[in-house]
Symmetry: D2
Subunit: 339 residues, 4 copies
């Protein structure tokens, strides 16, 4: 590339911001133009995040509005902040990758129930492209506004995609484990070290905003009504996610089907043994194990991702690479975390 | 009681042995007569287990055969060792509570596949009482040989029992999380601290010996063929277990059904929110959350236990209390682990 | 005892309150009369603390003032709250065990620097007995107001006590590790699970309020000025503390000296190998390893305690037992946490 | 560089091997020629290490001798294996970086006591260069055999180096914390997850082979006899190390001294607050906090490193860069682990 892509990051001081910046620092075609944070305005990035104290951005000053022009904005902001920020950014002519849920649910009527606000920008919602790179690559190339997927939806939809044409009307069971970083960087009683380090629990079992996200995207891909029984759980690890999908689908060899479906994908690995969460930490990779249980005639898929990697910030970088016509794996060729 | 029950523990130096002894030390009607361990013969118990270095058993000498007569033997030995030990003990007239799987599967033909040995004592297998206290209390009172249940079966069967009469022929999905202590005290590569502390994985997804154990007991209780899709997983906690059961069962109010079913049980709590694993550590309690999802018409049950508590050693004490006609909660009135 | 001791606990919803109550529930001579908590007034204790949901106090209602008369108050309240509460309680004729630091520093002039407030009750400060049971047992018997020691001071002073007569004017180096529960139950950024679970750090290295506490008590015992270089650190465990004391003291056999000094103490174990933190969790025991390094001629002492056990709440129970002339080990005969 | 450096790694399947390979994979001037492992001969690297299953080396076949010629060998082998391997490699004309302790102690008479073998190659020992990059950079440029330092010595010597000219004959106290990976990848009872995850302990307090390593190097730098009181401890983290050094040294402003001493060093950061272990994980950086305590007149230094980074494998890469006249930071510009 002749010229670097100038990037502005809104909300850089949370976990998704941090992982995003870790990848962008090393990206050969990116220049970080601004880090926008109203709450930490005036501080250096190194002050806010210990691991960045020794990085090239240690002395970078956070500002409360962009300090110079830019080509693309990454929004690591709360849903409500993204909701209002997107229209302004789009109006100013820049492209936007929003990591919040503000532009993910194509049906605006779901926002009051699942996000607690009415969606005021249905046109932008309509225009947004869902950033699950492997499934919407073509649309992403020209996208102005990308709604980067949630972590549970990323793993679940990649586990479901090859099967969507085969699915009937039965409900699909999705049982999912997430690391604590999925709950964000703000301290909470439940995630205070002594309370969680020997604990695990299910939450929002009848109401989690990632359920309609998965159902709507699955429906848009399959043309069928999809119904999930979705049980998210937290376990005491910092990063990582494991999703188990159970379907009543008489499919003798799901492995070959998956292998073929993802044969050209650099970030999806199909394997024939249960994956470990540790295989994917610090990567943009989703490892999938599909299998069929003769005895119960259930088709099951186990998928693991790094909730902050493929489940958030690294997929956002993959999407940027697609949007700007850069080799898709740029800055994402990570060997993964070695212990 | 006039006289204390004399107890001999075989295999006291593993995790089930340790938890068992922790409870028996405090039991007002028990005298620990012998600790039998061929591998640690001649050592003191305190030498073998750091937490017991300061206990009343610190100087207790391990022997390779019982050092005095006893009324009941607890077997915390490997399956193969229990297999051969039980006939001798029964022949000698003592009662036996076996924590291994050697006498759990009423169908001896399953042993070669699931335990790697042919069962040489079908009569004793026939005679053994399955030690899930709440479900087999009557049989336990007079039992000579108790096959103490596995951890996954304990939680799963307590979660299923109130529903067994309502179940049709559909497979039941059981997705279960276990702490690492379930894998025993012998060091293994997978459970070496640096490899597991940020990790989680499913294992034995198509073949786990607890699956037929659950299926056989459920069948014996319901009279119906029961078919499980069983996915055990390990998460990086030391103790604790969470089981999630999914059934296609149109049951509007499972909460009331469960409340009623367990209304007199001191160790089963039925609640109306997702339980936390931390609620039950160091206790003999199973906390159960049954609910119905209108949208998918699936009945779901989430149950948590301490895999070494209700899932193993404390249930063994509960069974001993039943067998010896002692108040069932004796030495099990634990407030639970406070962080 | 003919009549039970009626106990009122102020501030029962933090970690020290929780561990205290765990022990008092089992205490044969105690009746918990009131749990006073202004912030949780009207809630049940089980609502506030998951591990107590299944205990006998699950339905106990928290009140904002004592709901009935009592003999002794335990204060698990912040320093400032204890400061003002103690005079009122003493005036009302009850005995008080204060787990805060409000009445620990006999020199009131230190309070502004180390606690941020002027001490308004120097007479009560004068009257208070420092609750390090092994060192002040005689004074504790008749004490009206007990200032229960801090966790670092408990372990450090037990490690120093046998040496105090031998110490010259050289500074003593105290390097100490604490579990996260020492920082309390209120969520903090530093102790949010993802930030601390792979981390450790020193803090307050030049200013920690436990330093003058140790120095003053050591001086009162030895008659000499004691000067500490004190470096507290947090490590990612929930409970537990390890203190290492380094002295330039030419003492060939500290083991015998310590053995003799603590020969009648049920809660102090002197050993000849490095202790493990896991040996003492859930106990009131301090394990001490004193040794002499010929090469450097340094005498070193390593001591471990449970920071919430001997370092706080269980020592408070020990003190109550002493004050009320009960067998000192009552309700403290814990086998310790087995993994 | 015109031609890539061809590298052979002996013992690639342990933790030091893994971290080394993670860095070498990304190194622009390195070609990994062979991975030599007798125990895993014939397997692919991905089979042996889960995190490498998705890397470019996933299918690389391990061999029991080098599969092609090479310029430099990294030895991640046990001490005894390195001892015998080094002479053969040196004789064959390649350069060697040995991560074991086999060639670190210039005084061969120490080997029987601290390593359990007599050193059979005193000439090579004499010839070896101690690979603490910042202190022996000049010698490293032409080194044929580099004895890569131990983790404790790296952190301790970097913390001591600026003070060595000021030190008198008093013993120096070194109190150090290490993550579990320092004990290697082979499973051990002490580091089985349930035994260590809530534990910490000191070990080898009177005998640790890193003590003479530090003393000898410090003596070679200062010309004075150096005497350490060295207390290594393990804490339940996977990676990371914190060393605290205590000296009786009347030095009012150690910060400026350290700042100046390390002013041109890219991998040593001198700061004026206690460092966190999390600042340096996955980096080659040592963060040092030197300070003076007026009250006790003790100079103290706190240093943190990644025991597998600067403490082992990344320093080995730094040394290779120096030896081959490559920009020293090549492949080591890591932003560090973000949670």
């Amino acid at each position: 590339m002749e010229q670097k892509i100038k990037v502005c990051i809104f909300g850089p001081t949370g976990y998704t911001g941090g992982v995003l910046i870790s990848a962008l620092i090393k990206h050969p075609f990116v220049k970080i133009a601004s880090l926008v944070s109203s709450s930490h305005k005036g501080k250096t990035f190194g002050e806010v995040f210990a691991p960045f104290r020794n990085s090239s951005l240690a002395e970078f000053i956070l500002t409360d509005s962009p300090s110079e022009s830019f080509d693309v904005a990454f929004l690591c902001t709360p849903h409500e902040v993204s909701l209002d920020l997107v229209p302004k950014l789009i109006a100013s002519g820049v492209r936007v990758i929003d990591l919040s849920g503000a532009y993910r649910l194509k049906d605006p009527s779901l926002y009051p129930e699942f996000y607690g606000f009415s969606h005021s920008f249905p046109d932008l919602l309509e225009m947004s492209v869902y950033g699950l790179s492997e499934l919407f690559r073509r649309e992403l190339k020209a996208a102005k506004l990308v709604a980067n997927p949630g972590c549970y939806p990323t793993a679940t939809l990649l586990a479901l995609a090859p099967l969507l044409n085969l699915i009937d009307s039965e409900p699909i069971i999705v049982d999912a484990l997430s690391g604590i970083s999925g709950a964000g960087r703000t301290p909470k009683q439940s995630f205070h070290f002594p309370e969680i380090y020997s604990n695990a629990f299910a939450y929002s079992v009848l109401w989690h905003r990632h359920r309609p996200e998965i159902e709507l995207i699955a429906k848009s891909l399959s043309g069928r009504e999809i119904n999930l029984r979705f049980t998210p759980q937290v376990i005491p690890i910092s990063r990582g996610m494991m999703v188990k999908v159970y379907l009543r689908l008489n499919l003798q060899n799901p492995f070959e089907l998956f292998k073929d479906f993802y044969k050209n994908e650099p970030f999806v690995k199909v394997i024939s043994r249960p994956p470990e969460i540790s295989e994917v930490i610090d990567t943009n990779i989703c490892v999938i194990y599909p299998f069929f249980d003769e005895k119960t005639r259930i088709t099951q898929v186990i998928a693991v991702i790094d909730n902050l990697g493929k489940g958030a910030s690294l997929q956002a970088v993959q999407n940027m690479n697609i949007m700007f016509n850069i080799e898709e794996t740029t800055s994402l060729e990570l060997p993964g975390r070695f212990i």
